[in-house]
């Protein structure tokens, strides 16, 4: 009996939706299996950032490639995606961070990423709601903010329009050589499976070194024009790169609605969706240090989400050696929205056997297979 599908993608978050769409476009017969609702996991909980990060060469290539794909897709995205090129300013509180800004500027210049160093006066003029006497910052004007759930829905709808079949509210229990066994006992048979289940991916592919890294966010009432760019403290980079340290870092983002999104926090290994009050308080207090006027602004909602984190801060995109016919598309940590489109493309490339536009080796799961790597 031939399998029903060429590819079964488990997980209809932005990463899974992208994988499904790219596979369908490549001429494959695709099933999308989602435990709940498409885009209901990490896709729903994050800050919606599209940015080029260069913590490493591999991270730079992947984010740059993916941002290019996002910009190419932009004209087709529905208005609910609220694709806005707001730009980011990385804020330096003192001289040491200012030097880090300069270094980063040189690095971006070499890579052709537009960036401008701002001195304290310019920063204050551009963002009057920041506290006075900051040393300056680094502006990356091409950074984008989107609202991810409609983008996820768009890709799923596109995939279905091209023939993909969606199984929603159908949790997967196990990946087997012949296909996916669902928890209701039914089977979706497929030649190839893509595990895009985010923080749940180790449940379906035992040993996958993905752990939840909890983050909390708060969103305010509408204050249009309160800040014009995404604002991030320079220390954010160190905070994000450190595996062991649970931490908070200042992150403030203007949304299309005029609401302000306040972040961010990291707690590795935590999977409780309840708000951790100490982390929320610390995060908000940190935000006040940079933008004291936030004190009077009204917070309407808070929530927590879980980034699927890997030990080396790079995602897992490629075959999982322990399971025949299974590819991983997971472990994107805090860059899932950015990297989703490139991930879908790279997965489709590997499934159909065509060359990729960037080297795939740094993201292959085999690099971490066969050991207890940070798990």
């Amino acid at each position: 009996m031939p399998p029903d599908f060429d590819v079964a993608v488990v997980g209809a978050g932005l990463v899974g939706a992208s994988c499904a769409w790219e596979c369908v476009r490549a001429g494959l017969k695709v099933a999308i299996i989602e435990a709940g609702l498409p885009g209901g996991g990490a896709t729903a909980a994050n800050m919606g950032q599209l940015l080029i990060e260069d913590g490493s060469e591999a991270e730079f290539r992947l984010t740059q490639y993916s941002v290019r794909l996002w910009n190419a897709l932009r004209p087709e995205l529905p208005p609910e995606v609220e694709f806005d090129t707001v730009g980011s300013i990385w804020i330096a509180s003192g001289e040491a961070e200012m030097q880090a800004c300069e270094r980063q500027h040189r690095s971006y210049a070499q890579r052709g990423v537009p960036a401008t160093v701002l001195d304290g006066t310019t920063l204050a003029r551009m963002e009057p709601n920041l506290r006075p006497s900051l040393a300056g910052g680094l502006l990356t004007p091409e950074d984008v903010v989107i609202y991810p759930p409609p983008a996820c829905r768009f890709l799923v709808d596109r995939a279905r329009a091209l023939g993909a079949r969606l199984f929603r509210d159908r949790p997967a229990r196990r990946l087997e050589p012949s296909g996916v066994l669902l928890s209701d006992g039914s089977r979706v048979t497929a030649r190839t499976m893509v595990n895009a289940a985010g923080t749940a991916s180790p449940l379906l592919s035992p040993g996958v070194p993905v752990r939840p890294r909890k983050g909390q966010l708060a969103i305010t009432d509408r204050y249009p024009g309160w800040v014009h760019h995404q604002l991030v403290e320079m220390g954010y980079v160190e905070s994000a790169m450190s595996e062991a340290t649970d931490s908070i870092a200042f992150n403030l983002q203007p949304r299309r609605s005029g609401q302000l999104l306040i972040g961010s926090s990291r707690q590795l290994g935590h999977d409780d969706p309840a708000i951790d009050p100490a982390y929320m308080r610390s995060m908000l207090a940190r935000a006040l240090e940079f933008a004291p006027g936030l004190e009077q602004l009204s917070v309407v909602r808070t929530w927590a989400g879980f980034r699927p984190a890997t030990p080396d801060h790079l995602p897992l995109i490629g075959p999982w050696p322990s399971q025949a016919g299974v590819y991983l598309a997971t472990g994107h940590d805090g860059l899932g929205i950015t990297e989703s489109l490139a991930t879908g493309r790279l997965i489709a490339d590997q499934v159909v056997g065509r060359p990729s536009e960037i080297p795939i080796e740094p993201y292959l799961p085999s690099r971490l297979a066969g050991g207890n790597h940070g798990a």
């Binding site: 609702l37 885009g39 609910e80 306040i262 708000i275 009050p277 982390y279 602004l297 917070v299 309407v300």
Partner: protein
Amino acid sequence: MLLIDRRPYLGGNVWYPEAGGAPVAEAIPNLRRLDRPNVRFVTGAEVLDHPRPSTLLIGSGEVASETRYGQLILATGARERFLPFPGSTLPNVMGVGALQLLAKSGFSVKGRSIVVAGSGPLLLAAAVYLREHGAEVRLVAEQAPRWRLWRLAVGLINDRERLRQALDLRRRLRGIPYRYGCWVGRAEGEGKVERVVLRKGRTEWTERCDLLACGFHLVPNTELAELLGCRIEAGFISVNEFQESSIPGTYAAGEPVGIGGLELARIEGEIAGLASTEQRERAQGLFAERRRLTRFRAALQRAFVLDPRLRDVVTPETLVCRCEDVRAEMLMSFGSGREARLQTRCGMGRCQGRVCGPATEFLWGWNPRGTRPPIVPATVGQLTVATRTENMPTITR
């Protein structure tokens, strides 16, 4: 003992004093009994969060402070259920209890023409109040069918007090048309309501009015109980015979336990007060009366069940989420409340789903969203007040 109330006065919504007038007569002895050195009042204040065990974050205006407690009694009351219809967001369309409250707090309704609609015992009480304060109440439109209200009345034969109250209200309403099985189809007007189209069966007609009071009975305010982790069943806080919730030391009384009216709320409050201060024998002495009043609560619930045809007034353009301006057509295509909220942000505005939650539950069976702090919008300053106090633990970078 600390009493916290969001209104500027004590007495809540039922014992709300009239502007320029005296406190409500029934409230006076109770207020007097509370005039003791061990009792403190905080008015104009709301609970924002439960940031650590046995601690509440209380906010007022732009300030907040944390308060530790030993025992907690939740008497958070209820709010009106608002169902959407074309024109329901027009100014001068408000709730039934709302218009009565606004009138009590100084809005003169003298000479105003008012339609009172929706469902529940509030309709009668509000219509009488408005009429006796000089308003021209054009009619009262109760969606429940006549036979259900007759059954309620018949069931009150053994409950002299409530029957007397109901008959008294009906008498004071004489001369004002009271229609059963009748509801608002739409409200119309330029910049504010000027007329209301009413439906009864297959008939439709228009009433001119300059105020429309429309509310469909009450929904319990259980947000704080949910935040604390109390067990909630069918939307109400579960309590044992001593009004104690699933969390030891946390009690609940009144509408959040079941919509049952003033007298039941008082008895439950008394039982909770006695039980929380280790006077359980005295509390047991009130069980019989509570039992009797609980029958009334069940009868109320049966009487004011909502007619499914109330869903038919909603058109694709009708605003369902008032905070985020989400229309019915934007919501109808989704399979679940969670998905619709995610894609449209319905329920993510300032009211935190308090208005559209009960509406969408009735319209499409959506489950309400989970409760997260702050349970009322709060400023960043209020939410970080603990970090400015000595010895509060913070997370360092």
